[in-house]
């Protein structure tokens, strides 16, 4: 079983602060996706990274895929209350692109 460990598990910050969430594994993935889930809703896809070392930006969110495709990070600049939610990374194992292994999750709360 391929495990994806996320850190930190919980993060409570004030509006305007920066933060980084990490997603680590000992396994190599063909691609990695990041989702955000709000209470009472299903996860919503934010981004997919495919190439080792790839960096993608989505407004104030910056996603990076590790060179060895075993880890990833999500950096949020100037967090806003609307960023509050559960952030999940999910990796597609080599050879089984249709199946995702989800990380343990990072719960972010941004307060005014």
């Amino acid at each position: 079983t391929q495990l994806l460990e996320q850190s930190p598990q919980f993060l409570s910050i004030q509006e305007g602060e920066n933060l980084t969430v990490y997603c680590n594994s000992s396994s190599v993935f063909s691609s990695l996706q990041w989702y955000r889930q709000e209470p009472g809703e299903g996860p919503v896809l934010l981004v997919t990274v495919v190439t080792g070392g790839e960096v993608k930006k989505l407004k104030r969110l910056t996603f990076q895929f590790g060179d060895a495709r075993k880890d990833s990070s999500l950096h949020i600049t100037a967090a806003q209350p609307g960023d509050t939610g559960l952030y999940l990374c999910a990796g597609a194992p080599i050879g089984t692109a249709s199946k995702l292994t989800f990380g343990t999750g990072t719960r972010l709360q941004v307060t005014l």
């Binding site: 691609s31 996706q33 009472g40 299903g42 896809l45 199946k99 995702l100 989800f102 999750g105 719960r107």
Partner: protein
């Protein structure tokens, strides 16, 4: 484009009772997934369908859980009999192969409470 639909949104049952959940995926998505999500954790895959065939059900507790996707579109997930530890959110997702990637789209989930 309509998203993944699930019903019911909430269900409360007593242990040893049975329950069924329904999912309608995004039109044209051949792959359908059922996940179980314990509060605060990441989703755990229960079963994956490709059209109406099962691709992976290795983590489905088959003594009490069953799922079907008879016509390759809608799907149902059933639990019989339910246990206290089945309390969770059950998520349905669908995906389409696009440029060698499967990006999954999730429904809102069904929150099950077993008392």
């Amino acid at each position: 484009e309509a998203g993944v639909a699930q019903s019911p949104r909430y269900k409360i049952i007593e242990k040893r009772q049975s329950v069924a959940f329904w999912c309608n995926p995004i039109s044209g998505h051949a792959t359908l997934y059922w996940y179980q999500q314990i509060l605060g954790q990441g989703p755990k895959l229960l079963i994956q369908f490709q059209n109406n065939g099962v691709v992976d059900d290795s983590q489905l507790p088959k003594d009490r859980f069953s799922a079907e996707r008879l016509k390759g579109v809608d799907s149902t997930l059933k639990i019989q009999p339910a246990k206290l530890e089945d309390s969770a959110v059950y998520l349905c997702a669908s995906s389409l192969l696009r440029q060698d990637l499967y990006e999954q789209y999730f429904g809102p989930g069904t929150r099950l409470t077993v008392t």
